[in-house]
Symmetry: C3
Subunit: 145 residues, 3 copies
């Protein structure tokens, strides 16, 4: 695939919400989508975490390198989407977190990231949802087109 | 509250605009919302500042630790929302700023952040606006549900 | 201009897509807009790059200071817009990229940033597109109002 390939969607519900204290950031979004019958969405969030797991993809080895830490940090940006994998809504998101000196780290967001507080803006999308499957070239689960 | 709780909104106007040179970033957005009768919105912005005030929340002490500095920096991302507090539209936003070496700092955005140039994308939302009030558990002004 | 000045748009198509492996990030978005007759849009993207070019604006000297590097890094956030310059759709975007230790750098996104993988959410906008022209005060190409 040599060009940007897109599917067009219609806007579904536009949700503004409060991320749940003490709960897993990714799971809370996936559970909301499951119960609201949302299969495709784009979202952003800001807030704070009490612990986090982030990672980056090793493009040579084709594995994620991850780190988990317990720390009170700001969610400076969190941006991602919801689409289908094995028939279920799954989150793919990246996050920037920061400490009291304004120092930032970030990467691919994993579960075992626990919310202290947070606000999400989630645009549900209607139309044929995109599905993830294994991509040979990158080793990642990418959208089929 | 153990789950992600959301309100659903309908899209209002979708505004693309130019942040005002020499003016306060937060106040300029709040003034625009006030005069445009926008009570609820989600937005993002990129650009540059000539000075900034950022902070992070001390989750133990329940106070914001802030820092103000005069410096010419990029607004690498700024992401936030507008909702009601005491009946007025107020901005809650987080920002990532960067210098000429690409070095980044960021956190909760405060006033006394002065725009050099910038572009905003603001999606106004119609429906019952969310209102902030004091939350015992976190010490923050969070949305009521 | 002392206030935030905006144009109001109607939502056009809402596109979710896959950034093309081995291609230029900016050019792939501009080509998509050109062939889809999109003149105005707001977008965000996450993913990974195999090389990048970022910069920051020297507000005194009125020039961009840029750096190009070959490195496998996450696109932690990329946020921007599409509008017209000299009659063509052009991207203005800022990017945060991160390494395997979660260390971040970022700034204004330039061409010669090559996609490894990535996902874009692009909201096309209908209405009179904004056009960029030279702004005396900042030395930047800003939207005319």
């Amino acid at each position: 695939m040599k060009k940007l390939t897109c599917s067009e969607f219609k806007p579904g519900g536009l949700y503004m919400g409060r991320l749940p204290y003490g709960q897993d950031l990714i799971t809370s979004i996936e559970d909301f989508c499951q119960k609201s019958s949302i299969q495709m969405a784009t979202f952003s969030a800001i807030g704070a975490v009490s612990s986090f797991t982030i990672g980056a993809y090793d493009q040579e080895q084709q594995v994620y390198v991850t780190a988990t830490e317990t720390a009170s940090l700001e969610i400076v940006t969190c941006m991602g989407n919801v689409s289908l994998m094995d028939g279920n809504p799954v989150v793919h998101a990246h996050i920037v977190i920061g400490d009291k000196q304004g120092k930032l780290i970030g990467g691919h967001l994993f579960s075992e990231t626990i919310v202290f507080a947070g606000e999400i803006s989630l645009q549900a999308l209607t139309g044929k949802p995109l599905e993830r499957s294994y991509d040979d070239k990158t080793g990642l689960s990418l959208w089929n087109f």
